[in-house]
């Protein structure tokens, strides 16, 4: 039976504070959120601003200095200006992509979590089902989009289905890892006080699985975003992916990059959102 200290090695540490001595990895996530929350000195702030200015300003200067044509790479300032002036053109498509993502992810994540919770209770069933889950995880669900479009048309449905199919298995495989992390001593503890199987599940197994479930939700939602954008590129007339295809075909690079900036912001927001969910619900610390 593994002890707490052994388990700690396997459990992502959402509580980890940002700082120079922390390893930056997906396990403690301090790379993004920790650095934002854990800045202590003026020197650190100055360094962060300095590097940002150097990179963005350097790109601006280089593009202007070498007279790179706008249709190849617009300077950052032009991308930012376009993002503001053409935001009203992009905004409806943000709504479309977010709708696909949220609806598809909600369906996929719920199914993935429930399947993981049930299947891990029956090791034999798990052995039978595991290869198919692996198949779903490793096969790009984008490949199914043309087929889904044939069946469901050019609306949101095929994209929502693709998002659910991409995110569900990710949530499931990570949640299953969490649910498989059995600590016999903790289950024995609950049983020694007379706990039923359901009580053990709710009070011991789910809390133990939660850190891995949150990791699964994060990875699943990022995969969902990728799939939503890819599906929009394949067919249909709206969504940010569709806009990327549209603007690049017209060689409108400032608008094209403005869409990319929006997608990057959505991705980072997902990351930060699940970091805070992890910190609040699965950090094992107040």
């Amino acid at each position: 039976m593994p002890s707490d200290s052994q388990l700690k090695d396997q459990i992502p540490e959402f509580h980890a504070k940002g700082g120079g001595d922390q390893e930056v990895s997906i396990a403690n996530w301090s790379g993004v959120t920790g650095a934002i929350g854990g800045i202590r000195t003026w020197a650190e702030i100055a360094a962060i601003i300095g590097v940002a200015v150097l990179i963005i300003g350097g790109a601006e200067l280089a593009i202007r200095g070498f007279e790179v044509p706008v249709y190849i790479m617009p300077p950052p300032s032009l991308i930012l200006i376009t993002l503001v002036t053409d935001f009203h053109l992009i905004a409806p498509h943000i709504g479309v992509t977010l709708t696909e993502l949220i609806v598809g992810f909600s369906i996929g994540a719920t199914a993935g979590f429930l399947l993981a919770a049930v299947i891990t209770q029956f090791p034999f069933v798990e052995k039978i089902v595991a290869p198919y889950i692996l198949l779903l995880v490793t096969t790009p669900m984008l490949a199914l989009v043309p087929l889904l479009i044939l069946r469901f048309g050019f609306g949101l449905e095929p994209r929502i289905i693709a998002v659910a199919l991409a995110s569900g298995p990710m949530v499931m495989i990570n949640s299953a890892t969490g649910f498989r992390r059995v600590d016999l001593a903790k289950i024995a503890l609950a049983r020694s006080f007379g706990a039923s199987t359901l009580q053990i599940f709710i009070k011991i197994r789910i809390p133990m699985a939660l850190p891995m479930v949150v990791v699964g939700l994060m990875i699943g939602s990022i995969f969902g975003l990728l799939t939503a954008v890819g599906a929009e590129m394949v067919g249909g007339s709206n969504g940010l992916g569709n806009r990327l295809a549209y603007y690049s075909s017209l060689i409108q690079m400032p608008q094209f990059f403005a869409c990319i900036v929006v997608l990057a912001l959505i991705g980072i927001s997902i990351y930060v959102l699940f970091f805070w969910i992890g910190k609040r619900w699965a950090s094992w610390e107040s």
């Binding site: 024995a188 020694s192 006080f193 009580q199 809390p207 107040s286």
Partner: protein
């Protein structure tokens, strides 16, 4: 002598009768316990002493009703124990607190499981926390507490449901020597104050001699009862009792019986 021989089953609080446990593993059958019998009197402090892997924990888990026996029975107040019993509480190795719960929420766990409202037992819980010196730490999480504090919290958790039998599975094995002395003193005091029956598993001879009324020595696998020692040191036993000649002689006597290893036939 064996445990049951000395008392009628009627007087004993806890009786283990011919306990045998075989595990089937990939490499064959493991005989964890072999025809083990003992009887514990009401209010007695008993230590089960033996080398690592001798089946001590197997025995204790069977006493707690956490797993069954291949043959033999465990009886509490004459009633067979086949599943966890409300009168029995267990203190585990390494405290076994739930890391996602604060100290007070850990102590509330047994109440939640039993469908009781912890608020109705607040006085009792607070008194116990105060007794072990954990008042003011209720909102702390296990990772914020020292090993000794974690184990004290775990003792409070077990005592808060007011069991009559407390089973302790090498509870202080992971603690440093100073903390361990402190915990031994504390558990002796709590035992004297509450009059609980305690079965305490350890592989430390000195710990067993310090704590126990009687020491049941187990042989290595298969776990058999080899000797029973009476410890006649008067209570309360202060820590410096461990430096007295009598204490050291007792430790040496117990150690010799383990070194010679051979089970002594019951008589």
């Amino acid at each position: 002598m064996d445990g049951t021989g000395r008392f009628g089953a009627g007087e004993a609080k806890l009786v283990v009768d011919g306990a045998t446990k075989h595990y089937v593993t990939k490499t064959g059958v493991v005989h964890a316990l072999e025809d083990y019998s003992m009887a514990v009197r009401e209010g007695e402090f008993v230590c089960v002493l033996g080398p690592s892997g001798c089946g001590k924990s197997t025995l204790l888990w069977a006493m707690a009703g956490l797993h069954g026996l291949t043959s033999g029975t465990v009886r509490l107040d004459g009633e067979p124990v086949v599943r966890p019993h409300p009168q029995i509480a267990m203190v585990f190795q390494d405290a076994n607190l739930l890391p996602w719960r604060s100290l007070i929420k850990n102590i509330h766990l047994p109440f939640e499981i039993k469908g009781l409202r912890p608020a109705e037992h607040k006085d009792r819980i607070d008194a116990l926390l105060d007794r072990v010196g954990l008042t003011g730490f209720q909102t702390k999480y296990p990772r914020e507490l020292s090993g000794g504090m974690q184990q004290r919290a775990s003792i409070v958790r077990s005592l808060s449901v007011d069991p009559s039998l407390l089973l302790m599975d090498e509870p202080f094995g992971a603690l440093d020597a100073f903390t361990r002395d402190e915990m031994n003193l504390l558990i002796e005091e709590i035992w004297l104050e509450t009059g609980k029956t305690i079965v305490f598993i350890t592989h430390s001879i000195a710990e067993a001699v310090f704590l126990a009324d009687r020491i049941f020595v187990m042989s290595a696998r298969p776990g058999r009862l080899s000797r029973v020692f009476e410890v006649d040191i008067p209570r309360p036993r202060p820590l410096d009792v461990t430096t007295t000649t009598h204490f050291i002689e007792l430790v040496a006597e117990v150690k010799a019986s383990i070194d010679h290893g051979k089970p002594v036939p019951a008589h």
